[in-house]
Subunit: 151 residues, 2 copies
């Protein structure tokens, strides 16, 4: 079974984000082994220092094929994202997605990941972004299984 | 005070979506009068019939300057969206955003709205899309007020 790691900076505080993520985690359990890895936010005074410290933690958790969500990444429709996921599962058993913190991620993370993808130009808070990526991964599996979830 | 209408197809069932929207509604109350208008989903056998019936309901609720969220719309960054909102508030007192149902919206809705905007290529469920647009509207107000919410 495919392992999907989701490396996120910062934890969820509000119960509604926790519950929304739990719902998608439950739905995804049919399709993959999902590990959510929370990196502590490093609230350093200097932005560069924060990114550097968070980046070291992120890099230590990269495994398999790594995909960073970044505004400069290539944009995909849900169907294209589903195809990508299916293609990758032919050659790797682990995919690691990374969502940065409120400052984004360090250049070292950007240079070390296998791929950068974008879900669009707007900026979202990390908690909402986590729900969005979980939904898109779930949608990808549903598309690939021929379900009518994606109309 | 600016009035913002958000016309959505379908209601929220899960408590976590309801609570997430409530949080952004509460935060937005500083900046605008927000009306959320829920159009009933018309589960007709025919997609065209569903869209037509939902479309009639949507059109009856359009007021002021109307903006449809549509995948073919122009994409904006959060900063660009904030500028747009600020520009519009110079000339109108009401802005109506429209989020379609699971089939999207009818061509008649697309032709009658003032503008179509897109938050990116992926497709999201209507409940998550509602949270996303509320967050982007809130972010826009925070950007326009010079807050550090948007880094």
């Amino acid at each position: 079974m495919l392992t999907i790691n989701l490396v996120c900076v910062g934890n969820l505080k509000e119960q509604y984000w926790i519950d929304a993520c739990k719902e998608y985690q439950k739905r995804l359990s049919r399709f993959c082994k999902l590990n959510i890895i929370e990196i502590a936010e490093k609230n350093q005074f200097e932005k560069a220092l924060t990114l550097n410290k968070e980046g070291q933690d992120i890099i230590s958790h990269l495994a398999g094929y790594s995909i960073l969500l970044a505004i400069e990444g290539k944009q995909f429709t849900s169907e294209e994202f589903a195809s990508k996921l299916q293609d990758k599962t032919q050659s790797v058993s682990t995919i690691t997605f990374v969502i940065g913190g409120s400052y984004g991620v360090s250049d070292s993370v950007k240079s070390v990941v296998n791929e950068k993808i974008s879900f669009g130009k707007p900026t979202y808070p990390h908690n909402l972004a986590r729900v969005m990526i979980l939904e898109q991964i779930y949608r990808a599996f549903m598309i690939n299984s021929g379900s009518s979830y994606h109309k």
